[in-house]
């Protein structure tokens, strides 16, 4: 489906399907998280600091607040040759690695962090790709496997496939808001051992696309399971700043691991991932994220660095932006008020839109949606009429929706949900009139779709 979208549409507004009359003039993409494109404003402090970093003559411009100029000065100094244009070491600027380490230690109430185990990379997927390359087996050896959640982030299958790694799913429990299920994990590992060499378990917390946030007990269960089965933990924590459910506390896997004491803290190996693209800044175009390796041999870390050397490091502006994401202005600083206001506004906007989409979809017959409390995905189950069901019925549904209404949503089969249950995947971002209207059109399409099955012609399969 993603391929279909990519091959037919780009971000410009020229009408697709030249020559075919359509009821819409522009495709509205409701499944890619690109908030700034949809009008969610960038954060002023970030824009100002980066602009000054690029053009240091602005350091003497007093129209920029003092903290902007001080931050920019510090960041410029951290760059090779005081220029954002210079190459950095392959795992990122040393100063930024330290700043990330500071952030992690603060976030996790004092758990020690070694700056040398932080690898800055060009976005989450790139980092994960690198990690999987490290983990994959070679010709002649049994295939390595990774336990993956079902549903999983839709690009995960491709990343693992490219590395020649077998993915073995463990089902999340939809009826409990997509929580992890220990029995399911155990069933999955048994299956895995029968067909590959399971080495790792991939977890998204907050969940992608489910929006589930694990509680401490659940995390402990997973850690114990990984320890018992000698699995490497690959933890996707890119949405950690986007927790919005009331009363929900997100805690990092690293913190829980530490609190579990030496037995686990000294044994379980983990890579946790974070990125600039998600969350409230939505700086997708800057391309930066990082990976923290915990309890991994220095030798293996050197391999990771070697691989990164061969690969693309994170562009410098992205690395600098990471510093701002993770170490925002403090209450005593001039930019604090505006910064906080903008962040909270973005959080409110994104949350509101996710909830609005959630409520709207839930109200449609045949759709039911678990509440999402972290991240801004909306992942409703769609009960398709029996006549419509079939292989990839959700893909066909999405294709029809796209062609008829110009609204693009993701098909749940891209998240691994195949065979009998159908889901859609949305990432509503903003509340522009276009997007609000797109949701309405989705609803109208859905009702017509259901209607056509109760008394209309059968869906023609291409």
């Amino acid at each position: 489906m993603y391929d279909y979208l990519q091959s037919n549409f780009s971000h410009d507004s020229s009408p697709p399907f030249q020559g075919v009359p359509k009821t819409f003039s522009r495709v509205v993409d409701l499944c890619s998280f690109d908030p700034q494109r949809e009008g969610v404003p960038p954060i002023t402090f970030l824009q100002q600091v980066l602009a000054v970093c690029f053009y240091p003559e602005l350091l003497s411009d007093e129209n920029f607040a003092l903290d902007v100029r001080q931050r920019a000065r510090r960041l410029i100094q951290s760059c090779e040759g005081s220029s954002v244009g210079c190459y950095t070491p392959s795992s990122g600027l040393v100063y930024i690695q330290h700043r990330i380490a500071e952030f992690i230690t603060r976030r996790d109430a004092g758990v020690p962090t070694d700056a040398h185990s932080i690898f800055i990379c060009s976005g989450f997927w790139r980092t994960l790709t690198m990690m999987t390359k490290l983990l994959s087996s070679s010709e002649g050896e049994p295939q390595n496997g990774v336990l993956v959640p079902l549903p999983y982030p839709h690009t995960l299958a491709m990343v693992l496939g490219l590395a020649g790694i077998r993915s073995v799913p463990y089902r999340l429990r939809e009826d409990t808001g997509w929580a992890m299920d220990l029995e399911e994990l155990q069933r999955a590992i048994r299956t895995a051992r029968g067909c590959c060499r399971p080495m790792a378990i991939f977890i998204s917390n907050p969940g992608n696309p489910t929006g589930h946030v694990q509680n401490r007990k659940s995390i402990e269960e997973v850690i114990k399971f990984a320890a018992a089965e000698k699995l490497f933990l690959l933890v996707n924590e890119v949405d950690q700043h986007s927790v919005h459910g009331s009363g929900i506390q997100w805690v990092s896997y690293k913190k829980v691991l530490f609190d579990m004491g030496p037995k686990y803290w000294e044994g379980v190996q983990m890579a946790s991932f974070h990125s600039l693209s998600n969350g409230l800044m939505g700086e997708c175009g800057l391309r930066a994220g990082y990976m923290e390796l915990v309890n991994v041999d220095k030798e293996v870390m050197i391999f990771a660095e070697t691989l990164l050397n061969m690969d693309i490091s994170s562009p410098v502006p992205g690395q600098l932006a990471l510093d701002i994401l993770l170490n925002p202005p403090q209450p005593s600083e001039p930019s604090y008020d505006l910064y906080t206001q903008e962040i909270l506004t973005n959080l409110a906007t994104l949350t509101e839109n996710a909830l609005r989409a959630h409520d709207f979809l839930n109200s449609l017959p045949g759709m039911s949606c678990q509440p999402a409390v972290g991240g801004f995905y909306v992942y409703p189950r769609v009960d398709l009429p029996a006549e419509a069901a079939g292989v990839e019925a959700d893909v066909l549904y999405c294709q029809e929706l796209l062609e008829e209404q110009g609204v693009c949503v993701g098909a749940g089969s891209e998240n691994g949900n195949t065979g009998g249950e159908y889901h859609l995947r949305l990432d509503p971002s903003s509340n522009t009139p276009t997007r609000k209207h797109a949701l309405v059109r989705l609803g109208a399409f859905h009702l017509r779709f259901l209607d056509s099955y109760s008394c209309g012609p059968h869906l023609e399969t291409p």
Binding site: P42, A51, C79, E139
Partner: protein, 486 residues
């Protein structure tokens, strides 16, 4: 649990570059300086990487002003910036969707790709370029990596081979990392590092015994060699790939810097087009360029492109799919755009921009070459393009012996001592694939640093018995060599 087994053997086979060890040494030295340890120098000067801004070249003001204004659009409305900056930023901001934080299209923003193809058509004097064949990249290494990923799909036996020039940057490692194998062809170190077709044929013959060679990788202007190919030489290469049915990958990243008197750069695309049928319809060519080198030197921004010529459309679709996982930075595309659409005479920022080009690299590289080649113990092939210096060291036997005692390669040994004693970090030639027996170092000519000063430092290492005794202070050696340079 042993973690070693976790690591994919493919990765374990990647040769640890000596440069990595030097970088670690440099970091350690910098820490020591910070902690107040006394040294004969107070900073490390790293000329081993392509970081001209670190050695005195100023970033291009116009480019930086435009990008800063795109990042913080309030600058467009203020009059801090010259008019041409504001107008360019305004246009670009519209093209990228209003913010540098948006996602880019996976193969690049359409307007940027159009910009690239316009530039190419202009550069190649009318040879048409279609934006459908242009892919935006993070830079040349990324472009090369993409091509390799496309070639090497799944476990193949025999291994896919790529003919790769020696010497060249990090010889072979990118290939190993992608599961291919590098087949070396040796450039002629006595004749300005030119390519000989006989050598290509020899390499190909030997390759066919151990792998499936599919492509020829050329770098023009050469890096680190500084060789700029003549049209005749390029035509020979094209005939060679045509006959042997190889893909041609041309890394043309240094095309902007031409040093040699009367030296001209022609693109492989232009030569291919002008050779006419059957070559121009059949040879599959991929050309790479970026904003990382040359007078932009904006390697940290990650802006580059790749152009495919005569590739099968189905291959291009596969290519599209492969790179869809990546994100392209918007800022890198802005830098690329400014590089390809430079200022025109008459625009307010033009004067300053022109001066910038004239004043920098060309003059200093020429000067550096003259001095280097005249020193005893060092010889240098003529540099016609690019900004790499690649002198050959005639190391004294004592030094070679000492290196072997310490189980180090002689050129790495030299670089390590040079770094420790003078703070100057250069790259050992052994990383570039050259066989044992000759020793080279490679460094990027600093644009405005007093080239003479550190060349003198280099000289000290050859002529003074420095390599045995670590206690000679630098100042003493400076006196020893009363050189008439200023």
């Amino acid at each position: 649990m042993s973690q070693h087994r976790l690591v994919n053997p493919l990765v374990r086979n990647i040769r640890a570059l000596k440069r990595g060890a030097l970088v670690r040494q440099a970091v350690r030295i910098e820490e020591e300086i910070k902690q107040g340890m006394k040294k004969p120098y107070n900073e490390v000067i790293d000329v081993s990487r392509d970081n001209p801004h670190a050695t005195g070249m100023k970033p291009m003001s116009f480019s930086r002003q435009v990008i800063a204004s795109c990042i913080y659009p309030e600058l467009i409305d203020s009059d801090k910036m010259p008019l041409d900056v504001r107008e360019r930023a305004k246009t670009l901001l519209e093209c990228i969707g209003g913010s540098v934080g948006c996602y880019s299209d996976t193969i690049g923003i359409p307007i940027m790709r159009d910009s690239v193809s316009d530039f190419l058509t202009r550069r190649d004097e009318g040879v048409p370029s279609a934006s459908g064949n242009i892919f935006i990249t993070h830079g040349s290494d990324h472009g090369f990596g993409l091509l390799l990923t496309m070639l090497v799909r799944g476990d193949r036996s025999p291994l896919v081979g790529v003919l790769t020039p020696v010497p060249s940057q990090d010889f072979g490692n990118a290939l190993v990392a992608s599961g291919a194998t590098a087949v070396p062809y040796y450039l002629d170190g006595q004749q300005g590092w030119r390519l000989h077709t006989e050598e290509l044929q020899r390499a190909l013959r030997s390759a066919r015994e151990v792998c499936d060679p599919i492509a020829l990788y050329v770098i023009n202007p050469g890096d680190p060699t500084g060789h700029v190919q003549s049209r005749e030489s390029m035509e020979e290469i094209i005939r060679f790939v045509y006959e042997e049915k190889l893909l041609l990958f041309a890394n043309e990243d240094h095309q902007d810097i031409l040093i040699g008197e009367g030296c001209m750069f022609i693109s492989y695309k232009k030569v291919l087009a002008e050779m006419g049928s059957p070559f121009s319809d059949a040879v599959e060519l991929a050309s790479i360029h970026s904003a990382s080198k040359g007078f932009m030197g904006e390697g940290g921004l990650h802006g580059g492109y790749l152009e495919l010529v005569n590739f099968d459309p189905s291959v291009q679709i596969e290519f599209d799919r492969l790179i869809s996982l990546l994100g392209l930075p918007i800022i890198g595309q802005l830098a690329l755009e400014v590089m390809l659409n430079p200022l025109q005479p008459g625009e307010p920022s033009y004067e300053q921009y022109q001066e910038h080009i004239r004043e920098t690299l060309v003059h200093n590289v020429t000067r550096a070459f003259e001095v280097l080649d005249s020193l005893p113990g060092i010889s240098c092939e003529p540099i016609n393009g690019g900004a790499s210096m690649f002198p050959r060291l005639h190391l004294p036997h004592i030094a070679i012996h000492q290196a072997k005692e310490e189980e180090k390669l002689p050129d790495f040994f030299y670089c390590s001592r040079l770094l420790e004693q003078t703070g100057l970090c250069v790259c050992p030639g052994s990383d570039l694939g050259l066989p044992e027996g000759t020793y080279h170092i490679r460094y990027k000519a600093p644009p405005t640093l007093n080239t003479n000063v550190f060349i003198i430092l280099l000289l000290l290492f050859i002529t003074s018995p420095y390599l045995q005794s670590e206690n000679r202070p630098v100042s003493e050696c400076l006196n020893f060599l009363k050189l008439p340079y200023n």
